[in-house]
Symmetry: C2
Subunit: 180 residues, 2 copies
DNA sequence: ATGGTATGTTGTCATCGACAACATAACGGC
DNA sequence: GCCGTTATGTTGTCGATGACAACATACCAT
């Protein structure tokens, strides 16, 4: 028994879980499987996550940080396209973040990460007459677009990224005369 | 025993499952629980649904029909508001339909029901220059709005229905061509 | 009535989340 | 150095679940 203690089990669990998540989807993600991948007993993860939901919440929070990084530096239309690109690149992570599997209300860290991302988005619309409303509309648009693309509801459209850009470009916000 | 056969087990299972769905959420929905509610053995449902996913698919397809009925008769903004109202009224059903739990690709009946609803929506935009694109943008908007409202990302907004109407009203559809 | 088919039942297995009891490592005061 | 406290992993177990096999009963056409 060279190392009875793992050293950094929490990080190892998150790494393994992220891999399971993207390759086999949310329902296949079990604490026991994550433990196996870390070469550790089936019950060890409970020292780091009180229950399965806590692990999912940590993965989701990590996802919001990644999304925030993907959006940072862009503004307006480009930010929207970055949003959709992120969703298409990490479909399962995106579903975990927004699929309702993890109740936001119960996980403060997750709420915080989501709120930070929200602020980044609202900030990009600060030059419009009603930033909150415009940001809400823009977010709704790219968020719904991402979901519908992931679900395959727009299969008739050819190139996905190009289609997304067209949809985003087809929308104007009424309270001001300027397009994004 | 009076009735060895149930008579209409499939319908009874769907009814019970729908109740479990809205009261306890998707993960709590088990074939065994549905069987219990129908007063039938734990294995009987397999005669009607090859596996758990098939039951979920049937519930989702039913959901698309309900959504189609809710949208029918309206057009434009009103249809969008009806969409959001449906999502808020049946949150778990909505998540089941769009949460990615059920892979559309594997269930033809589900695909058909979704496509029918899609047609209803596109039809409402036939008077605009580019109906397909406008419909896609409109659908994305109300779909994303529904999801974000359900996830509690717009808690700062007061009255929910009024907020939804404002967001929908803040958007215009342009026919401008777009190149990346 | 008779035989085939559709429908339910009983029994069983592997996996999972969760918990309790126990074992070992790491750290700090002395 | 020594020892006790705390953090971290392990073993063992329970109830619930999805899935399947083997069996039993009702229904229907001939």
């Amino acid at each position: 028994m060279s190392t009875y203690h793992h050293g950094d089990l929490r990080a190892a669990l998150l790494r393994g879980a992220a891999k399971i998540l993207e390759t086999q989807g949310i329902p296949a993600l079990s604490l026991r499987d994550a433990a196996r991948r870390a070469g550790v007993s089936h019950s060890a993860p409970y020292r780091h996550f009180p229950d399965r939901e806590a692990l999912l919440a940590a993965l989701a929070a990590e996802g919001f940080e990644l999304l925030g990084e993907a959006m940072r530096g862009h503004s307006g239309r480009e930010m929207g396209e970055a949003y959709v690109r992120f969703a298409l690149a990490h479909p399962q992570r995106f579903r975990l973040m927004f699929g309702g599997t993890v109740p936001m209300a119960k996980h403060a860290a997750l709420r915080g990460a989501a709120a930070a991302t929200h602020r980044t988005l609202v900030g990009a619309f600060s030059d419009l007459p009603r930033p909150q409303l415009a940001a809400a509309a823009a977010w709704s648009l790219v968020h719904g677009l991402s979901h519908l693309l992931l679900d395959g509801h727009f299969e008739s459209a050819g190139n996905v990224e190009q289609f997304a850009a067209q949809v985003i470009g087809a929308v104007r916000f009424a309270s001001g005369q300027r397009a994004t």
